[in-house]
């Protein structure tokens, strides 16, 4: 998701991405912390925290366990992103910057409220719009978001009882 490819794709928000990059540069991270959501910059954290409950609707436990499960999914997503090579992380940084910057969030993603206040319906509608977009770039961005979140949750053993997966078999010699 380079700036050039975004413009090449003819997305109206291309020029706005320039704006987003100019006025909304993510804070430089001097060192990469090793664990937890601290590995994410604030753009990524804000966007993912809002999208996770929608992507994992029906998968996360309900009630009081929901918040903690969501946090674990966020931490899992942070680990997944940290495990990617620099080129992929840069592309995701740009995607999260685009989604976090209010004008591009509204015009490219169609989400008009700030992420923490956005309704589940508006977030789901944004995901469907990108999934079905005529721009391959937006379709691939949708796929990246859902893969990171779904992979993070279903890699967590807390997700397994609900899907009938007992986990790895014990080795008899343990």
């Amino acid at each position: 998701m380079t700036r050039r490819s975004l413009l090449k794709a003819g997305v109206a928000g291309g020029a706005l991405l320039l704006l987003a990059r100019t006025f909304h540069a993510p804070a430089a991270v001097a060192a990469r912390p090793d664990t937890g959501v601290g590995m994410l910059d604030s753009d990524a954290r804000t966007v993912l925290a809002a999208i996770i409950p929608v992507v994992l609707d029906g998968a996360l436990p309900s009630g009081t366990a929901a918040a903690q499960a969501g946090d674990e999914a966020l931490a899992g997503a942070a680990r997944a992103i940290a495990g990617l090579p620099p080129a992929a992380r840069r592309e995701l940084d740009q995607l999260f910057a685009l989604l976090a910057f209010a004008p591009t969030r509204a015009l490219v993603a169609g989400v008009w409220s700030p992420w923490p206040e956005a309704s589940r319906e508006s977030i789901a509608a944004f995901l469907v719009r990108w999934r079905d977009s005529r721009f391959a770039l937006l379709r691939s961005a949708y796929d990246a978001l859902r893969q990171i979140i779904l992979g993070a949750w279903y890699g967590n053993e807390r997700a397994w009882p609900a899907i009938g997966y007992a986990g790895p078999p014990p080795l008899a010699l343990d």
Partner: protein, 538 residues
């Protein structure tokens, strides 16, 4: 050592070997730059590099092996996707083609993809070898020429038809195919005393899988080879048709980011075996002469589409040997100059792999995940590279020097994908599926073969409108008689350099039309044996 003691009864060649003084260097832990000297340096420790390392050390040559990934061994294979994918795969198992339309599963660890593959072992199909001889003038690689090399590697790696019953995920493929009069057969696997657990893709915890990690690499180390891990082969330094040294960049402990450490390897002979993305990338970064501009072109993937089925009974596709049944009906029944053919197989069905592949999000996705034990999946691997409409992809370098594969999917592919989605649905209904869902981002399941057939014939297909994956990267440095089409001569040598060889799946002029590991083993065994004889005489 507590960390290595999880399975005290199971042998771990590295736990025992390291103690006996094997030379293994973790470049992520280097405090300063270093220089290594060897007769031969091998870049990559997968099917090609591992096979070459054993043969060359047997010939008495000193060998240095350079591996971008980490050394992880059976004692630390915990059968957990969340650990295994970042640790053992390129780009955390999320490597994508340039337009993100294809997800590539490729190993990046000691043993390369052989450490994480699903053990399927096929001899190169005779039709493929005949095509190479006819279209590429390749001599010395006929079915007869390669037979002794197949036999040798089958013996070395305990390759034999799977003798246990297939798991239900594979049995359903067999049953459905049989009901429709489509021939399906048993896959040969490179395993010894296999526990039939089903976790081959996360590293074999019992060392049953005869990957390079437990066979050729320990053999090479026992003969004094040096193994450098978390070192990315960056550039070959060369002048007047000779390579003089290889410069490697150290990677951090996560294996993602370069460190300032440099490892220089001086050698008489250089072997590139970093796989069909890594090898062309190394040659391109090194700015080697390439007068016909063929390096990194014609890269093939067996682009693969999937079909999920909801069965009436439990399938438990996460359990048991992941691949044991295949059908070549849709390869054997189509000519190379016709529409693209495909091989049918079944994949393992683990939570992360399934979650990221099953369609949609939210309630629809969660509903499919709750059915996971009842989900059966068939995959269709397209045989690419045999038709003028199937030119494959091209390895390019990003601004940071890392490679990306540009592989556009065209109408020739999508025609095959559509036929394959229909074939798989028909087989799944014949096997007893209650509903079938083609692998697409938008969730739409079908309750009958009739409904599926009509819907699939009308699907709009294009990048990211169907899920396309690959576990086989091939080509990009073709071997052949014609310098205008093949950068590699029939001895495996890079034509423009006297002492550089390519010994991996990059040398295939087309895709294989079958899981490629045994093709790499046999062809590299042949090439490396000739090289060992040549270097021994020098």
């Amino acid at each position: 050592m507590a960390a290595l003691g999880r399975q005290p009864g199971l042998p771990d060649p590295f736990r025992d070997g390291s103690a006996s003084g094997w030379r293994i260097i973790d470049a992520s832990a280097l405090a300063e730059d270093m220089t290594i000297e060897a007769d031969v340096v091998i870049v990559g420790t997968g099917a090609g590099g591992g096979t070459a390392a054993e043969i060359l050390t047997q010939a008495g040559l000193t060998v240095a092996m350079i591996e971008e990934g980490a050394l992880v061994t059976s004692a630390n294979f915990h059968m957990r996707e969340a650990d295994a994918y970042p640790q053992l795969y390129q780009e955390s198992a999320a490597r994508k083609t340039k337009d993100k339309a294809i997800n590539i599963l490729q190993g990046r660890c000691v043993g390369g993809s052989t450490t994480v593959n699903w053990t399927s072992s096929f001899r190169t199909p005779p039709a493929t070898l005949e095509h190479w001889a006819r279209e590429y003038g390749l001599t010395g690689f006929s079915t007869g020429d390669l037979a002794p090399w197949f036999e040798r590697m089958e013996q070395r790696l305990s390759i034999a038809p799977w003798a246990m019953a297939p798991n239900e995920n594979n049995a359903a493929l067999s049953r459905g195919a049989q009901a429709l009069g489509i021939r399906a057969a048993t896959i040969s696997r490179n395993v010894k005393s296999c526990w039939n657990l089903g976790y081959c893709g996360m590293g074999c915890p019992t060392n049953a899988k005869q990957s390079m990690l437990v066979t050729t690499i320990p053999a090479a180390l026992a003969r004094g080879a040096t193994l450098v891990t978390r070192a990315r082969a960056w550039q070959l330094e060369h002048s007047s048709a000779r390579v003089s040294s290889l410069v490697c960049v150290g990677l951090d402990s996560r294996g993602t980011d370069p460190t300032p450490r440099r490892i220089r390897v001086r050698a008489r002979t250089f072997i590139a075996a970093g796989g069909a993305i890594g090898t062309p990338a190394l040659l391109l970064r090194s700015k080697l002469p390439d007068p016909h501009g063929v390096v990194g072109k014609r890269t093939f993937l067996h682009p693969t589409v999937l079909s999920g089925a909801r069965m009436a009974e439990r399938v438990d596709g996460f359990s048991g040997a992941p691949q044991s049944i295949y059908s070549d009906h849709f390869l054997d029944s189509v000519p190379f100059d016709g529409p693209i053919g495909y091989k049918l197989e079944a994949p393992p069905i683990h939570p992360v792999l399934s979650a990221t592949t099953l369609p949609g999000f939210g309630q629809i996705h969660a509903a499919w995940m709750r059915e996971l034990p009842y989900v059966q999946v068939v995959i269709a691997l397209m045989r690419d590279g045999f038709h003028e409409s199937s030119p494959g992809g091209k390895v390019e370098l990003r601004s940071d020097g890392t490679p990306v594969l540009d592989y556009p999917l065209n109408d020739y592919f999508w025609d095959g994908a559509r036929r394959a989605l229909a074939t798989m649905a028909e087989i799944q209904f014949a096997a007893g599926a209650r509903s079938v869902i083609p692998g697409r981002p938008a969730a739409q399941g079908y309750a009958s073969w009739r409904e599926a057939r009509e819907a699939i014939s009308a699907l709009e297909l294009g990048p990211q409108t169907a899920i396309v994956v690959s576990a086989h990267v091939m080509g990009g440095c073709a071997i052949g008689a014609d310098p205008r089409r093949a950068a590699i001569d029939e001895s495996g040598r890079y034509r423009e350099m006297d002492n550089l060889y390519v010994f991996d799946g990059s040398v295939f002029p087309t895709s294989i039309g079958a899981n490629p590991q045994l093709s790499v083993y046999a062809i590299v065994a042949k090439l490396a044996t000739s090289l060992a004889q040549k270097l021994g005489r020098a």
